[in-house]
Amino acid sequence: MNIKLEIAKQEPLWNTNKNIVRFIFFIVIFLFLLPYFNTNSFYLHLMITIFMYAAMSQSWNVVAGMSGQISLGHGAFFGLGAYSSTFLYMEYGVTPWVGIIVGIFLSSIVAILIGLSVLRLSGHYFAIATLLIGISFQVFFQRWDLVGAASGLWVPLTETDSWYAIQFHTSKIPYYYIFLIFFILTFFLTWLLDRSKVGFRFRAVRDDPQAAASLGISVSKYKIIAYAISAMIMAPMGSLFAQYILIIDPDRVFSFDISIFVLLLTVLGGVGNVWGPLIGTIILIPITEYSRIWFGGTGGAIDLMIYGVILMLICVFRPEGLISMLPSKFLEREKKR
């Protein structure tokens, strides 16, 4: 592990495969210019959804893929983010930008508390504990009158488009850029994390907790750190989602479906790989959005049915995710000459 770490330290950041870096660079440029070519709001919406879910599944990937704890209640952090920014804006007129930061703090604190209490658990017991905690949040917010109980919160609308309130009624383009920037930030930071010392420790804890402990890595500390980082990635997505649809209720933002969905996207793409969630999202989100168009309101059951089958097939035939189907030279760093 140490040798790998030394190599990772010596190499400059960009020294992944050159072709991949070039490819990513062009994709990013293309994404920034996209609204100038195509202002059809459906495609913008599709892209926004992809950015959002990619970042959300990246958050799940940090905790499940890197540090190896399966969380089935990640919707809780999404909901906390959504509620903290919306509530602050409604009650005190605080700009959602501050709300996003408050949401990040709040959910990371909650994650640390959850981590401290269920720290001893591993495997199935941890998964079930997070599942129960996620549902508890939903039940609790459904009955909490201060935040609108089951009917949720309506964000008060501004007269005109406003960057202060993050509300744009005439066009989706500003939303597009906000989500794009958060998406790129998330992936860049996770990529950094993945090759940092902390990232290596996460993987050591995942692969063999006892060996990691014997090397002086505090297993529980790194598990909690992974959980908190994951919550910090999830929360701003909740806040932005609330600003995007401008109405939140417990059944939507604390939904169990969110927890399922981030898991599905990551497992489909490839758990533990930074690009896995992106691949899963690019494939599955368009299917979801189009099936919603084709089947109308009753499409819900059919696309979930397909997801269930996909999940089982992936588990049986490709446990490493779709990313393992790429030729291996794409995945490895360029050899030093």
């Binding site: 504990a129 269930g308 588990c315």
Partner: protein, 288 residues
Amino acid sequence: MTIEIILQAVASGLMMGLIYALIAAGLSLIFGLMDIVNFAHGEHLMLSMFSSFWLWSLFDLDPIFSIPITILLMALCGVATHYFLIKHILKAKMLVQICATFGLSIFIRSFAQFLWTPDFQNIKEPLLEGRIEISGIFIGQPQFYASIVCLVSFFLLYLFVTRTETGLALQATAQDRKAAEILGIPSDRMFALGWAIGLSCVAVAGGMMSNYFFIFPDVGLNFALFAFVAVALGGFGSIIGCLYAGIIIGLTESLGGLLIDPSYKLLYVFAIYLLVVIYRPQGLFGRY
């Protein structure tokens, strides 16, 4: 708050608890046998309730008489689950195992929603109806018989696992798969049997509950959550622990609802889970 109301809550908690216990026993059996948590357990319960419902609605068969058919169907379903899905992921990482049964649960639930719509169904005019009164406490007949049937099946299961040769073979496989194979116990067939029995437990509970419960695709979710709690509370792989755990959960649910606030019923039970796994991870009757 009179003493009758509390006794009433205790009685209904006990009756629910016995049903939770049987459901949890099925889950615990599978968990103990192959170290795989069946996240689709609630969906299997839902399937068995729908099986009762359709046997009633198509062939006019009362749920009491259709239970053997439901058991047979669910056992077949369990064997199929083992051979088509579980067998392939036995050696995989835990993440993959969780995702696979999770995928199964999503699939079954949305399949039911697609086929039978999310509407609430119920069985009209079952044989078991009405209520009986015992010194001021009213007990619904279907609930009462359901808990009795669950208790009896629970003890049949317990006798089967501890007193018969096949049951001992199951236990041997659970303890050490390889050693059992060396002794000539085919672990593959034992796993299939474990799934068949585990889902039969669910079939009994589901069949009896279809007498008085509404039947809809999401019905299994809460029961599955309670079953997870019961398995953790009773202790890993301990079948008799499930009985006590189920009763504790049933009582917590009804007494907590009565004494504190009924809208947070779920949370009391979840709190039990967290307390147990934090302070006594081996459960009340766990061996490890």
